[in-house]
Symmetry: C2
DNA sequence: CGGAATCCCCTAGGATACTG
DNA sequence: CAGTATCCTAGGGGATTCCG
């Protein structure tokens, strides 16, 4: 999650710090961000309907308005989310996953399944540390 | 990637900042870390063979010895990687994915595929920013 | 209502040096 | 060889305030 600055430069450029052929790292830089996966999931649950900013915020417990804004802007830039503004006063802004976003959600679903099935094991492994000497 | 400190406390505890029923977030906190996914992949490619520390380091271009160490310790704590020490002088330490680690790799493979197929679109979307006004 | 700007803290993670 | 310990900085992300 460190090389985020490389985005503006375009990571196909010559001066890359890391393997430019590792799209996985790039992807994780995006979805590894605190609220991205939750936003994608929330929008996916609503699809094909659009969701307004405030409503989205309500469905994502704990997110600050700044971070939701930042997250959505990033997703929009990446072409994963579409943004529609109704130029009323006050304005209404709607978000929805694009086709690309939906396909990402499908890929994420796999991870989610794994997490749901196995995170408990990881927790148990962590708790087991420190006891292993006794049991030896 | 921020709430990492919650690990020691055990995220089943009462004081959780976020939904304790979101294992996906926990998982991303792990694999979203800069070197974790690369380490898992590298170990998976070698499986079922063990890999020594230095060899692993060589196969992961750019990783510092500190970060590899930290990453491996974390993976070991999580039960995703097994660690075997030969108490020779100098010592030789071998790493290998556990069954749990291998199953994670399988889940990660899905993400990798998605990334390889679609990161280019994301790049294109990013580059398109700024032109969209011209095109009307 | 949606969001941009500012301030500030905290952690990931790189460089370097030391140990067994 | 395989770490561990220390120092340092860049950036994520929370709170708060201001704007159209």
């Amino acid at each position: 999650m460190t090389t985020r600055g490389a985005r503006a430069a375009g990571h196909g450029a010559r001066g890359d710090l890391f393997d430019p052929h590792c799209p996985t790292r790039q992807l994780l830089d995006r979805i590894g961000t605190k609220w991205t996966s939750m936003a994608v999931k929330t929008l996916a649950d609503a699809a094909p309907d659009e969701v307004r900013f405030a409503e989205l915020r309500r469905r994502m417990p704990g997110v600050s308005q700044k971070m939701l804004s930042v997250t959505l802007r990033s997703l929009t830039r990446d072409g994963l989310v579409s943004r529609r503004v109704e130029p009323t006063v006050p304005p209404r802004v709607f978000y929805r996953l694009t086709g690309l976003g939906l396909s990402l959600e499908a890929a994420l679903a796999g991870l989610r399944t794994w997490a749901e099935e196995h995170m408990a094991e990881i927790d148990r492994a962590n708790e087991a540390i420190g006891q292993e000497v006794d049991e030896g």
